[in-house]
Amino acid sequence: MSDRLSVFKTYKLYVGGKFPRSESGRVYEVTAKTSAADAAGQGKWLANAPLSSRKDARDAVVAARKAFGAWSGATAYNRGQVLYRVAEMLEGRRGQFVHEVADAEGLSKSKAAAQVDAAIDRWVWYAGWTDKIAQVVGGGNPVAGPFFNLSSPEPTGVVAVLAPQESSFLGLVSVIAPVIATGNTAVVVASEKFPLPALSLGEVLATSDVPGGVVNVLSGRTAEIAAPLAAHQDVNAIDLAGADDVLAKELEIAAADNLKRILRPQPVDNADWSATPGTERLTAFLETKTVWHPTGSLGASGSSY
């Protein structure tokens, strides 16, 4: 047996590129999901995670708003490079994530490893989309007049993301990557029961060229943090992936106040995050800008351009 003292990790939030504790000073116990849970239905204690308050949510929105200009203004190619860098960093920490996912979701090492590999692949997949999505959803529109008519997608803005509750890492990556790939910035509410992989992802993002504030990770009670985010006037969209039916309805009502874009939760409780995602999550948080540009006459002499 080793005579070293065990070094417990203090999990912290990731807001504005920094690692603060919750403003409230609160924490909650995160336990493992094990098949052989004890009588009280509790797995073994893993760590304390910050229990974020609405003020943490507000601070995260401020950080996300501040980061939006530079991130959305970066070239798509550059965003792709940065996201690919994230995948490189994830690869380097693969062992840690496998461990955390196995503990959190009660999976065997090999199953957890498969989840983490899928998540890293997913991240690379989205990194490739950054400079391609505009060609797919934008382009020249045929119009009945002497105009060039061009549509191009632009990011919606600050997106609140409620991460899936059950899939603590693959699900998390599947909702964050598409939001930031297109130039949005995100305030992510981690899975309530299994927040540790999300908090560790913050450490990866901090060391991989993603500017501070582009992704902000909060842990705590989803309903408590999501309510002020849904009502917040400076949040432009909300992804309700991690909300149950009742909560989703409440949040949609709150979000309607400033006409937020809403991505409703998946129809099934345990969405299959391993399937190839398609571009739906990429396009959910895009606004289409259309430009009309006069070309001159399209008369008998033929096109003048």
């Binding site: 929105v61 708003r65 002020p228 009502a231 917040h232 006037q233 400076d234 949040v235």
Partner: protein
């Protein structure tokens, strides 16, 4: 008004040496204690109705400021409109105390706030450096006053002050006060960030008040260190002590670097705990700020609606 014969401190300004003896005889500032006191007063939690009161009070104390080389008449007019009605969607929002502009914009600002209680303040005396001959500075002041400035914000000659030439600084303030006449109130800016020590800030405060300042003001907002809770607390102590000795009340204006409602409320706590309610009024306490107002308005909207507001719902300055 400069010191009069009946004054308790009348002989202090009799000559350069008496003034120096007085200013250097002021008790030294306990820097650690001062900062600790300012920090501890900053930890008060002000919530609900008290917060609503504090926000409205702070809005009414804002000197809405634009001091840029690129100021246009249009920008000054927009600022004036905002000062009169900070939140057009909510008519219960109080107006700000004043707009603060350069002297050549005073006439424009005056027109923009006409018919309201909002004052027009003008910086003068070769703001922000103050490096010009006295005649030029006085002409600057007279221009502003002639254009209708209700308040004049002058900068002291920091060079003379740091060189120990207190009488020169004193005479200059007295001359500017005279140029202001009876219609305009004089705010004296020390640029605390350039005075290097707390002892100097205390000396400058007393010097300004002896020379007849109606307000003492921390900074121009143009240097790295502007208003801090500590230097404002020190100046509040000075105006408290000055009134105790002379019966004359002098206002305080922290300026620059106060951007959030939380900060503003901390300053109000300092005022209440140091000099009391007599100063909790925009006649005696001001915030020199521009972006602060938007944050105050957003917090006000948050209190009214329960949801966080955003910069899309206030004007872009």
């Amino acid at each position: 008004m400069p010191i009069t014969a009946s004054h308790a401190l009348a002989d202090v300004t009799a000559s350069d040496s008496t003034l120096r003896r007085f200013l250097h005889g002021l008790p030294g500032v306990d820097a650690v204690g001062l900062e600790a006191r300012a920090a501890s007063l900053g930890t008060r939690s002000i919530k609900t109705t008290a917060k609503a009161y504090a926000i409205d009070l702070a809005i009414s104390m804002v000197d809405l400021t634009t001091l840029e080389g690129a100021d246009t008449p249009g920008k000054v007019r927009a600022l004036g409109a905002k000062a009169v009605r900070p939140d057009p969607t909510d008519r219960t929002t109080p107006a700000t105390a004043a707009v603060c502009v350069y002297p050549d914009m005073v006439a424009v600002a005056k027109e923009a706030v006409a018919g309201s209680d909002v004052k027009v303040a003008s910086v003068a005396t070769a703001f922000p450096a103050g490096r010009a001959a006295l005649g030029v500075k006085l002409a600057d002041v007279r221009d502003a006053v002639a254009a209708g400035a209700d308040e004049v914000d002058m900068v002291i000659d920091r060079g003379a002050f740091l060189a120990g030439n207190y009488m020169k600084v004193y005479d200059e303030i007295v001359a500017v006060k005279e140029a202001c006449g009876t219609s305009s109130r004089l705010k004296v800016i020390f640029e605390t960030g350039e005075l290097a020590t707390y002892d100097n800030i205390r000396r400058a405060s007393w010097l300004g008040m002896l020379a007849g300042a109606d307000f003492i003001k921390t900074s121009t907002g143009k240097v790295a260190v502007n208003a801090t809770p500590a230097n404002t607390l020190l100046m509040l102590e000075a105006v408290r002590d000055f009134r105790a000795q002379t019966g004359v009340q002098v206002g305080v204006k922290p300026a620059g670097g106060i951007r959030t409602t939380k900060d503003a409320i901390k300053f109000l706590v300092l005022v209440n705990e140091t000099v009391g309610e007599d100063w909790l009024d925009n006649h005696w306490f001001r915030f020199g700020a521009s972006s602060l107002l938007n944050d105050l308005l957003m917090q006000r909207q948050k209190l009214a609606t329960g949801r966080y507001s955003g910069p899309d719902y206030v004007t872009v300055d």
